[in-house]
Amino acid sequence: MTPRRERTEPRNDVSGSTLADWDRWCGVIVQRLQVPLHRLTGRERFELLACLGKLERTAPRHLSVEARALRTQLRDKLAQEAGDALADVLANNPLAAWARWTAQALNKPTTDQLREMLAALDDTEAAVAVVAGLKPRSICPDLDGLLSACRTWVERHGELFAPLRGEVERLCDSMPADLEEENYDLAVTLLKFEAILDPLPDERDTPVEPAPFTSAVLEALIRKPTAQ
């Protein structure tokens, strides 16, 4: 049975979005948990790492009991079996298509194209974050460089991803508040989402429209009676 997230958090229900599909991630883990890592293809191992990274980035209260248990089991499995199985797994990342995606994104992209691009970057970052905690020396500097360049591209073009803001905001809402202080390799995955939620101003645009408050700030403003 596919573990389900608790339904008490409807704001985080973005089923159908590859950016935030906890059910699918858990399904991938359930399917592959019992198979020895060396029997999985490189791509399957990569996906497993990406799913774990994204579950690690989710606050426990947003995960079902089953999902939390799966996360722990997969952590244990990787700690025991990782070894050589992680050596080249990151080479299976989907970012070979990044240059083509950026060209598409600058030329009337569909929402699906934007989502695919962002999800591919997120998967790779999440997988790298898991490997960083297990076997950091197996992360090739070229991949770190590629990821930084991808993040910078999104940083500069955050406005392009405006159609995904709702999904991204709900995904960010699912993350623990102290992620930045607790796991730097996972925290860096937030940069692209922040760039989308609050894109950097471009000096060439005048006048600048002030960025709308996020839903969380809006709620706080409505709640807060006045200055303390």
């Binding site: 960083a132 500097p141 910078t152 101003p201």
Partner: protein, 281 residues
């Protein structure tokens, strides 16, 4: 540096961790910092300056990075990733400073942490908002008490008060459903959070104009009706019919706004204005 001497990721993380933990002599700390600077920090700053088109990042990083480095812990991840996040956040600050656009520091944990000291826990959003509002109110009270130049016709303090409410209302756009569900409009939220004293309500932007409160009510009506930004043209058009108002041009209105923020900056100082006021504009 040759391939043979280039440090591995693990060595870089360990060096940053040693520096962050402290307990080194001044010479050791300096040597370690220069090592990190040469191998990781400066190359990343140069790349981000170029790719993010932010030529002030280096100066900002120099002022803040070493202080923030104390927070780095090797057990929590790789130093280059910690550094990347920190530098991108600094670059964002720099870019926003340029355009005076922000969100009163509430989405900038580093800036907040700097302001409150290293050891305090991260405050909740409500606490941050309360503190930001309190700091803003104190600054506005000080601004209100400053002597006004005799020859100055335009009341720049009144302009600033109005500008703060308009900017806050502007940032509440796109949330129409949520506001309706809470039974409030965006000008109501804006006015409630940025409340004016009776004396402030009675100010006149120009001699003979209606009181500031009346000006706000006209604009608030439009803000409640639409979910758009009010441009300078909109404001001038809406205020023109008010009794006593010799309608300014949009250009003049924009100049009053600019002068209002300049006057506040001059009185409060760059740092305090940026920290306390600019984020609301």
């Amino acid at each position: 540096m040759t391939e043979a001497t280039r440090p591995t990721n693990g060595e870089i993380d360990a060096a940053a961790d040693r520096l962050a933990q402290g307990g080194l002599s001044a010479t050791e700390a300096e040597e370690l910092w220069h090592h990190l600077e040469a191998t990781v920090v400066l190359p990343m700053i140069q790349r981000l300056e170029e790719e993010l088109d932010c030529d002030t990042l280096g100066a900002a990083a120099e002022a803040k990075l070493r202080g923030r480095l104390q927070r780095y812990r090797m057990a929590k991840g790789r130093f280059p990733r910690w550094l990347e996040r920190t530098l991108v956040n600094l670059a964002r600050d720099e870019k926003r400073k340029v355009r005076r656009r922000g969100s009163f520091g509430m989405d900038d944990p580093d800036q907040l942490a700097d302001a409150r000291g290293e050891e305090e826990p991260t405050p909740s959003l409500d606490e941050q908002l309360g503190r930001a509002l309190t700091a803003l109110r104190q600054a506005l009270d000080e601004l209100e008490r400053r002597p006004r130049a005799r020859q100055q016709k335009t009341d720049y303090h009144a302009m600033l008060l109005l500008e703060l409410r308009l900017a806050t209302a502007a940032r509440l756009r796109g949330h129409r459903d949520a506001l309706a569900a809470a039974g409030v409009t965006r000008p109501e939220v804006s006015a409630a959070r940025l409340a004016w004293s009776e004396a402030e309500q009675a100010r006149e932007i120009q001699p003979g104009w209606p009181k500031l409160q009346s000006v706000w009510e006209i604009l608030a009506e439009e803000l409640a009706r639409t979910d758009d930004l009010l441009t300078d043209d909109d404001v001038v058009r809406l205020l023109a019919p008010l009794p006593g108002v010799a309608a300014p041009t949009a250009v003049a209105w924009r100049q009053w706004r600019t002068r209002a923020t300049q006057a506040a900056t001059e009185f409060l100082g760059d740092d305090r204005f940026e920290r306390v006021v600019a984020g609301w504009l």
